[in-house]
């Protein structure tokens, strides 16, 4: 292969980061995210067990769903019993609870936070709004299907889902994690272009790097 071709391919492998101003591009990574295969069966099983017992949730309450997270965190339902703890920063969180409707302005932050989370990461979608638009199906400013923008592992029905339903959702997520079925992060990197296309279609002022490392 000629060197020129290799350069070309390398260039294609890089992200364009077109939303950024010229002088800032150098400050951001332009590498593509790549998927990470699970480790060998037993080690991964052990880690999955630990992951399922220590679920760090990003305390980003988007939409109404955040309201029911509060009773869940506090004395009546006390989710810390189940090893679920809120983390204030996406870097440390593994679970993203998208609490219902996401306006365009919020989905931008959701995408960004999701990308900043370090894998393996899981997404729980609450309520009707994330499934098929919910009661805002005809609103010009809320998305209809969350799975078009980030991969979703669990959907919980309700408007709002009650804390009990949320706990049931977390339990189901635990099962899935232990069974090793939650590979949303790899799904995201494998279908990266598709997700990006969808995201860029609705987020008109894309002024962030293409992938928020």
């Amino acid at each position: 292969m000629k060197k020129k071709d290799i350069n070309e391919i390398e260039k294609q492998m890089k992200l364009a980061n077109e939303g950024l101003p010229e002088k800032e591009r150098a400050l951001f990574s332009d590498a593509r995210p790549s998927s990470v295969a699970p480790l060998n069966k037993y080690l991964e099983g052990f880690l999955n067990w630990a992951r399922s017992r220590s679920m760090w949730m990003l305390a980003f309450g988007t939409g109404c769903g955040a309201t029911e997270l509060r009773p869940l965190m506090t004395s009546r339902f006390d989710m810390s019993r189940f090893g679920i703890a809120p983390r204030p920063t996406p870097r440390q969180a593994a679970i993203f609870v998208v609490g219902g409707y996401a306006s365009i302005k919020t989905i931008k932050r959701i995408v960004r936070s999701y990308e900043e989370m370090q894998g393996p990461k899981y997404v729980i979608a609450l309520g009707s709004c994330t499934i098929n638009g919910g009661m805002y199906y005809d609103s010009y400013y809320t998305i209809n299907r969350l799975d078009y923008y980030i991969p979703v592992d669990i959907y919980i029905a309700g408007c709002m889902p009650r804390p009990e339903a949320l706990i049931a959702g977390f339990n189901r997520l635990k099962e899935k994690i232990r069974a090793g079925e939650c590979e949303g992060m790899n799904k995201y990197t494998d279908n990266f272009d598709w997700y990006k296309k969808n995201q860029k279609q609705i987020i008109k002022d894309w002024n962030m790097p293409d992938y928020n490392w």
């Binding site: 009707s128 919910g134 408007c159």
Partner: protein
């Protein structure tokens, strides 16, 4: 800085000594409240698939889908709501609006799924954990999203009406009609039940919009006799009405009447757009026997399709049974005229006092016209054939009604017994009651029927009104014998009737001979059904015609007999009622059109 402010906060730890509030096992320990709005349930036995839930759902979460095992029938569309939990907001408006009360909610609220597509389900069909759950939100009887009470129809008081034949029902005024029209759910289930398949929701919507002319046009799409039907239709649609499940059905008939009443007869052509139909263009002509609803309906549609029509009628005026079988207090003659004059004005010729078979033969009609439609109706009375029924003071109801309509004097007796439980029986009862009242100043008429009160075929309001007019209705008796002394009727012996139909639904009355009664009478009127008079068919035709069960001429679904040129419809085929006649005439008219055009093409080939 106070010391209290430093020490007092340490009382936080008081809480540590108390029992924590935490629920041990939240998923199982906490069922939803008794009227919690959880996941949906649907009782298929009650659901009629009217789609009100779909209509009111502000999230467009509900679809109506066909469900296996749910058949489409009168008053039940066979569709069932499928709910998308990707839309639902659990506001329970669908539950509150459900006219049958079939849609409810359980108190279950936990549903987790991996795939969003799972969240579409048909409550009642899809197997769910909560279908059997007892608790949950149900429609409260105290709240009213839909008006289940009909707007009251003004009627003339019994004291005022029982002497005269003026129309009882006054009809809705604009305000009342709008209010009544507002009750419509627009589900459209009634359309299938209406024999003429009138677009009921559309014209009711037009009333709501106060666009009477449009409503009127919709009426004429399938029914050219709105004034008649607006008064005396058997309104089967109203039994199919979704509101009927939980209250009073919509007064569809009265609304139809309201529309027709609003348009003066001189505006008919303008509104319906039939000003320039005078000259038939096709050059084919059709003979119609009988100016009853079926014949007139056929004539109207054929006329607007451009055929030349001639109607032969044995009686001196048009309308058939509507004029000669229905008393004037229910259907004033000028209203019949209003409908029929318009049809006449479209160029339909009517020849009265001409009995086919006597004054003109059917064969001649066949020869002179391209097709013949016979809607001759049921004008012969049927007898109970009990001992004494052959007395001259035993009458048939149809004959008496015809005589009254023709204006002939009737020898009304002081004590009358009417046998029969149908609408005709009520008509004759009330007619004779009026005549009695005129003649004797009092009413002594008794109506008895085989059927007990709850299964009497007459309309409820007819029975109520008859009673208001002081006629006695004593149903549930089987006539045994008319007692006659010296050629004069003394009365009627009856025995208790236990059941009318057997288990297979056939007519097979059972009596209890021990319970007897005697009704005193000078005159007996039989009103147990009518028969047809097919004497106009010549032997030749008769032998070629195929007959179906109960002596009816066999016709295909287009009311065409096996003689291709002869179409038969109306009471002699279906019914008996006006709306079937109208529907038959409508179908037959189109079939005749198709039949003649087809012949055309063949000839050209």
């Amino acid at each position: 800085m106070k010391l209290k402010d430093i020490l007092s906060p340490l009382r936080v730890w008081e809480r540590a000594a108390q029992k924590p509030w935490t629920i041990k096992d939240p998923i199982n320990d906490r069922p939803g409240a008794t009227n919690y709005r959880g996941f949906h349930k649907n009782d298929f036995n009650k659901c009629i698939g009217c789609g009100s839930c779909e209509e009111i759902c502000q999230n467009a979460a509900i679809d109506l889908v066909p469900v296996e095992g749910q058949e489409t029938k009168d008053g039940n569309s066979g569709l069932r709501p499928m709910i998308d939990y990707g839309r639902c907001c659990w506001c329970a408006l669908c539950v509150d609006v459900c006219p049958t009360g079939s849609l409810t909610m359980s108190n279950k609220y936990t549903w987790v799924a991996d795939m969003p597509e799972e969240y579409r389900f048909v409550p009642g069909k899809t197997e769910t954990k909560w279908q059997e759950s007892e608790k949950g939100y149900k429609r409260s009887e105290d709240i009213h999203l839909i008006d289940y009470e009909r707007v009251e129809m003004l009627e003339i008081k019994p004291e005022k009406r029982d002497k005269s034949f003026i129309e009882i029902v006054k009809g809705y005024n604009k305000e009342q009609a709008m209010k009544e029209a507002e009750r419509c759910l627009e589900c459209g289930i009634c359309i299938a039940t209406c024999p003429a398949h009138m677009d009921i929701p559309a014209y009711i919507a037009a009333i709501r919009e106060d666009d009477i002319e449009n409503a009127f046009r919709i009426l004429y799409e399938t029914n050219p006799l709105p004034e008649i039907c607006g008064r005396i239709c058997t309104h089967k649609c109203e039994t199919a009405c979704a509101l009927h499940n939980n209250g009073e059905s919509l007064a569809i008939r009265w609304l139809k009447r309201y529309i027709a009443d609003q348009i003066p007869s001189e505006k008919y052509k303008e509104v319906l757009g039939t000003e320039h139909l005078d000259d038939p263009k096709i050059g084919k002509s059709i003979a119609i026997i009988g100016a009853g609803p079926a014949g007139i309906s056929a004539a109207y549609y054929l006329a607007i399709m451009g055929y030349k029509i001639k109607i032969f009628e044995a009686l001196p005026d048009s309308g058939g049974m509507t004029r000669y079988g229905i008393p004037e207090y229910r259907l004033p003659y000028d209203q019949i005229d209003k409908d029929i004059e318009y049809i006449k004005s479209l160029g339909v010729e009517m020849q009265f006092n001409t009995r086919v078979g006597k004054d003109i033969t059917l064969d001649k009609l066949h020869k002179d016209y391209d097709a013949v439609f016979a809607g001759t109706g049921l004008h012969l009375g049927r007898s109970t054939r009990i001992p004494g029924a052959d007395n001259k003071r035993v009458y048939f109801a149809t004959d008496l009604l015809r005589e009254v309509s023709l204006g002939n004097e009737i020898d009304v007796a002081e004590n009358i017994v009417v046998i029969g439980g149908g609408n005709v029986a009520m008509d004759i009862t009330r007619t004779l009651a009026r005549l009695q009242n005129k003649k004797y100043g009092k009413i002594q008429i008794l109506t008895t029927s085989l059927e007990s009160e709850d299964i009497m075929p007459a309309d409820r309001e007819e029975i109520v009104e008859a009673r208001e007019e002081k006629a006695i209705i004593d149903p549930g008796w089987g006539p045994k014998e008319i007692e006659i002394q010296n050629g004069k009727i003394k009365g009627l012996h009856v025995v208790k009737c236990l059941s009318v139909f057997d288990e297979e639904g056939r007519f097979n009355p059972k009596f209890d001979d021990k319970q007897k009664k005697f009704f005193k009478a000078d005159m007996v009127v039989e009103s147990i059904g009518q028969g047809m008079d097919l004497s106009y068919l010549s032997e030749d035709i008769k032998s070629n015609l195929k007959f179906g069960p109960r002596g009816r001429i066999q016709v295909n679904e287009n009311f065409q007999s096996n003689l291709k040129w002869l179409f038969v419809g109306g009471d002699i085929i279906q019914g008996p009622d006006v709306i079937h006649g109208v529907a038959n005439g409508y179908i037959a008219a189109k079939a005749i059109d198709g039949f003649l055009n087809k012949n055309d093409k063949r000839r050209k080939k």
